[in-house]
């Protein structure tokens, strides 16, 4: 894959003399990671540390009659064998519901299954041993007497009267239902020139992080404190949850999260086996480590998507789209995942469908049902690929029906760039988007007309190329509206503390976390720019609940936009404080001074006045020389949370060029484009690689990745040979372009960029495949992943 450079213009508003905003500064942690000096939880070794492995249910649904642990307990190296009932005395169960998702319900979930296993892979018994290998040996000696129960696997029939109810106390298998109606959809459909309907199917897939989930828990009875080394996206959220379910206070729990080998939303949830590990540490009073292996990861890391959406669009002959309607059904496994719930994705599908378009009439139904498969929850670009594929698929089908070019129908319906602020069909509010500018830019980048001409020429030679487009909107920088209002103790605000050290460098402590995406680099760039030092003189501390300001962590594309703004404000505050000291030393008005490149200067002339090391020396070691009553404050903390808008929506458009081998059904991706508008671009390279990485995950969803279950609830391809993650050989060049519409909610103006690639890639590839196949009379493809078999079926060849 070739890296295509497309630098956005440098932004003047934030372009202080030594600004790093808008520059592709190398990540400060790069050398450390490249030299193998990262600090991943998988690497953590503590004195007296034991390892846990879990006996997992081989059945999708089974009553646990008895667990015989005697043989396992006497196996070499075994420290303890603990069942669900025993662990439940240490850790309370949880229920994954939020009050703002009206009516959502779930059942109590334990760290280890107590009476019943509800999916293939659920942990039912823990073995703690000196080594992971010995724990695995002893697992084979744990005898669990199961009584198999009828599994519920098909979401389509989960609500049928004849289907068993997984949690009888809940009354039915419905987790959550949302209905939404805007305008007059019935009238719009009745008055439409054409109504196009389709049923879209989205396969289950999962995140496949480079580093698996990992946790080391260390309960210290002397201190009455729990330290958890945890590969998580949200250390403060986990601090709260560990405390809550172990009956501790939050100050008794410290969560340390250093390097994390990829997360993609996988590591922002509560996992029963991780909670069990923490509880085991408390029970056994020693450090316990759990690192999921790949086989465990496939059956326990949250799965995502798995939607069936019946949808229709009403369109006038002139191309005006007048209504969307969707009926979304999604199966989420046996429990709503804690604490964010498994209702958010369907909720997002309702929110986002039709989002790029001016369309007043909309009706949506979303139903979320239980089933005996692995749990499902929020993964990168929650709900976006579903909503985007449904919307963009319908728009293309409508265009085809009325004989209009896909570009033209978008031009006629995308919300005008000067129409903001405005709302989408579901009522979501947009501050400033740039759909038309993005469309123009992508068409220019790809040379749309030339591609269409080439497509026609090649078609005559039997080469079937497809061109697909997908406009999208993207939820970033969430306010408290996402989780806080629903009662979850998940912080939407974040803080940054910056301290001047005794030699004039700065140390930034931030609540956002590094997952490999470059958050540390972004915080360092912003802090260096706001304060005025070279980036080499900035150290960033993340991922430690004892040592960072309280914050939400990294998810929903919030680290740069929210953490970055906090760093900007903290940097400005510290600059003012330092200039107060400098002014005192220099007998100058602080307003007449500035900090540039690590030195205090005259703001007007740029003349160097005093070095930061000297300011620090005086403030820390000779404060007696400062005027009486003057106190230097060389540490500043600022917090930020978006207030004006529930979310900083971004937008963009993607395009795909591909070739379909109509004999084999194989698809070759030739080129991919993405133009996105994340507002102020702090680090172009990091943004571009976020987009590319996201695109690749979206391409995985549309062509490769699929968790295949049989009707008994057994995962058939839960390994790296049979579950196809997208690999470099199959990936096209991905060109990235930017339009910049900063949010006015923050001074920095940055929105998020982490979801954009994943949001739009599946839709535009699906549209491109249908564009390639339509002239051959093929059936329209509306299911993902689009495997060779799917293509051959659409062509009627098998």
């Amino acid at each position: 894959m070739k890296i295509v450079q497309d630098m956005p213009p440098v932004l003047s508003a934030l372009d202080r003399p030594n600004s790093y905003i808008g520059r592709s500064v190398p990540r400060p942690n790069l050398a450390r990671l490249m030299q193998g000096r990262g600090q991943y939880v998988s690497d953590v070794v503590l004195p007296r540390m034991a390892h846990v492995a879990f006996a997992r249910s081989p059945h999708a649904h089974a009553r646990i009659r008895a667990i015989e642990t005697g043989r396992a307990k006497s196996a070499p190296g075994v420290i303890a064998v603990v069942t669900g009932a025993e662990l439940a005395r240490v850790m309370t169960p949880w229920v994954g519901v939020l009050t703002h998702l009206k009516g959502i319900k779930s059942a109590p979930q334990h760290a280890l299954a107590v009476d019943r296993a509800c999916w293939r892979g659920e942990a039912v018994c823990a073995v703690v041993a000196r080594s992971r290998a010995e724990a695995e040996d002893a697992i084979e000696l744990v005898e669990v007497d199961y009584e198999e129960l009828a599994p519920v696997t098909d979401a389509e029939t989960a609500l049928d009267p004849g289907t068993p109810v997984i949690h009888p106390d809940l009354g039915d298998n419905l987790t959550f239902e949302r209905r939404h109606e805007a305008g007059a959809p019935d009238t719009a459909f009745a008055e439409a020139d054409e109504v196009v309907e389709a049923t879209f199917r989205f396969g289950r897939h999962t995140g496949v992080t480079n580093e698996p989930r990992a946790v080391v828990a260390d309960w210290n009875p002397g201190e009455q404190r729990l330290t958890v080394y945890h590969g998580t996206q949200a250390p403060h959220m986990m601090q709260n949850l560990f405390a809550k379910h172990l009956a501790l206070e939050e100050h008794q729990v410290r969560v340390i999260t250093k390097d994390v080998g990829g997360s993609f939303g996988i590591k922002v949830h509560t996992y029963a086996d991780e909670m069990a590990t923490v509880a085991l540490s408390k029970l056994l009073k020693r450090p316990v480590k759990f690192v999921a292996d790949r086989i465990e990861s496939f059956v326990t890391d949250i799965h995502a998507r798995d939607h069936r959406v019946q949808a229709r669009v009403a369109v006038k002959r002139d191309g005006t789209i007048t209504a969307f309607e969707i009926d979304d059904l999604t199966g989420i496994g046996p429990y709503s995942v804690y604490p964010r719930t498994s209702g958010i994705e369907a909720n997002q599908v309702v929110n986002l469908t039709g989002g790029p378009y001016t369309c007043p009439n909309y009706r949506a139904l979303a139903r979320v049902v239980f089933q005996n498969k692995n749990v499902m929850c929020q993964y990168r670009a929650v709900g976006h690929p579903i909503a985007t594929a449904v919307t963009e698929g319908l728009v293309d089908l409508a265009a085809m029906r009325i004989g209009m070019d896909p570009v033209e129908i978008r031009r006629r319906n995308l919300i005008a760039d000067d129409a903001y602020p405005t709302s989408g069909p579901s009522g979501i509010r947009f501050e400033q988007l740039s759909h038309h500018a993005s469309l123009d830019k992508v068409l220019a980048m790809m040379d749309y007309r030339a591609l269409r001409a080439e497509q026609a020429r090649l078609r005559e030679k039997g080469v079937h190329r497809g061109i697909g487009l997908a406009s999208f909107i993207e939820v970033t920088n969430p306010s408290a509206a996402f989780y806080g209002v629903g009662g979850a103790r998940i912080s939407s605000q974040d803080g940054v503390t910056i301290r001047l050290d005794a030699q004039g460098a700065i140390i930034c402590h931030t609540g956002v976390t590094e997952q490999g995406q470059g958050a540390e680099a972004v915080i360092a760039q912003v802090a260096a720019s706001a304060f005025g030092v070279p980036i080499a003189r900035v150290r960033v501390v993340t991922g430690d609940t004892d040592n960072t300001p309280y914050g939400g962590g990294t998810w929903a594309s919030r680290a740069a936009g929210i953490g970055g703004e906090a760093a900007w404000q903290a940097g400005k505050a510290l600059r003012a404080n330092v200039l107060a000291v400098a002014g005192s030393i220099l007998q100058a008005a602080p307003e007449s001074l500035d900090i540039r490149n690590g030195t205090v200067i005259d703001r007007e002339t740029g003349r160097e006045r005093i070095g930061l090391d000297e300011v620090a020396r005086v403030a820390y070691f000779r404060p007696d020389t400062l005027p009486p009553g003057f106190q230097a404050e060389l540490m500043a903390t600022r917090h930020y949370v978006p207030r004006a808008w529930p979310f900083a929506f971004t937008n963009g458009i993607q395009a795909s060029l591909l070739e379909v081998d109509v004999e084999t059904g194989f698809i070759t991706l030739l080129k991919h484009w993405c133009v996105e508008d994340c507002g102020t671009v702090i680090n172009p390279q990091l943004v571009d690689e976020q987009v590319r990485g996201g695109v690749v995950q979206g391409l995985g969803a549309v062509l490769f990745e699929h968790c295949l279950y049989d009707e008994r609830g057994q995962l058939l391809n839960g390994n790296m040979a049979d579950y196809l993650v997208p690999m470099a050989c199959e990936m096209p060049d991905i060109a990235v372009g930017h339009v910049v519409s900063p949010t006015a909610d923050s001074e920095l103006g940055a929105k998020g960029a982490g979801e954009a690639g994943t949001a739009g890639a599946p839709a535009c590839v699906m549209n491109a495949v249908n564009d390639a196949l339509a002239p051959l009379g093929a059936a329209t493809i509306t299911e993902m992943p689009i495997t060779p078999s799917v293509v051959l079926r659409a062509l009627g060849r098998v």
């Binding site: 695995e136 050989c729 098998v798």
Partner: protein, 278 residues
């Protein structure tokens, strides 16, 4: 993903390896690219691994009496770069880039691939297509088994529990040798959904004595004998049609039997073109 405990012994020589294999539950370790994964996934639990990597004389590639002999410990990467294989066994040379990924080809051995006999693997099919043979050393001495007789069933070969595969031999290509190779894998380096290794002799219009060997469609490499006959008779269409009788693939996670049979036909048309090319 931790293997159950096993003993390990490094064989000093072939005889030593055969002796060690007499231990109940012993398994032979060569490149380890399949074996170690099955151990880590606890799909097998041998009592003893007999490491043959230290045995000399098993990593040669040499032309002898019109046959190319490839030692069992020749690594895939070595075969991939071998001028002898490119010249004398062009079918194997064509197959090599499709096998796994660079890291796998660095460790994996040709002998291991043949002995493991994964029905979706490239090399067993190539060996059968070339009418090659397998040299085996065992407690009773050395013997040679024709490739057609070597692959018995799913992961089952003519190798006994104390046998060591020492080399494979294939007839060296001549001026009229024609080979073809194609496979369909959704990602480069994966096991094929369907693959075809083919060899024939150039003889005017139709390929003479074609051997069409499919992989990924059965429990062993599968010769499509009716299709071979039709192709020799000059009818590609009939050969493709005959595949419905020759092949009986099972549904798997990648494709149904019907899709596999369809793809087998597509591959035959593509490979037939290769066989015609000089």
């Amino acid at each position: 993903m931790k293997p159950p405990a096993f003993a390990y012994a490094k064989a000093r020589a072939l005889d030593h390896a055969i002796e060690l294999l007499g231990v109940d539950g012993a398994r032979l370790l060569a490149g380890g690219q399949s074996l170690i994964a099955t151990l880590n996934m606890r799909l097998s639990s041998p009592s003893l691994l007999v490491d043959i990597n230290g045995i000399g004389g098993l990593e040669g590639i040499a032309l002898r009496d019109g046959r190319l002999e490839i030692g069992a410990l020749v690594r895939h990467v070595q075969a991939e770069r071998s001028a002898e294989i490119a010249r004398h066994a062009p079918l194997i040379a064509r197959a090599m880039p499709h096998i796994g990924h660079a890291a796998i080809r660095n460790r994996g051995t040709l002998g291991g691939s043949i002995a493991f006999a994964d029905p979706a693997a490239e090399l067993p099919a190539c060996l059968v297509a070339l009418g090659g043979e397998v040299e085996i050393a065992g407690p009773e001495g050395r013997r040679t088994v024709a490739a057609d007789d070597f692959f018995k069933d799913l992961f089952e070969t003519a190798l006994g529990p104390r046998d060591v595969l020492t080399a494979i031999r294939v007839p060296a290509a001549t001026a009229d040798t024609r080979v073809g190779f194609a496979e369909l894998a959704r990602r480069h380096g994966d096991y094929a959904m369907v693959g075809l290794a083919a060899a024939a002799r150039a003889d005017g219009k139709a390929p003479k004595d074609p051997r069409l060997v499919y992989f990924g469609v059965g429990t062993t490499p599968v010769r499509a004998r009716k299709a071979e006959a039709a192709l020799a008779g000059g009818s590609l269409d009939q050969a493709v049609a005959a595949l419905a009788q020759d092949l009986a693939p099972q549904d798997d996670v990648q494709a149904t039997a019907a899709v596999k049979t369809h793809l087998a036909g597509v591959l035959l048309r593509r490979v037939a073109q290769q066989l015609e090319a000089a």
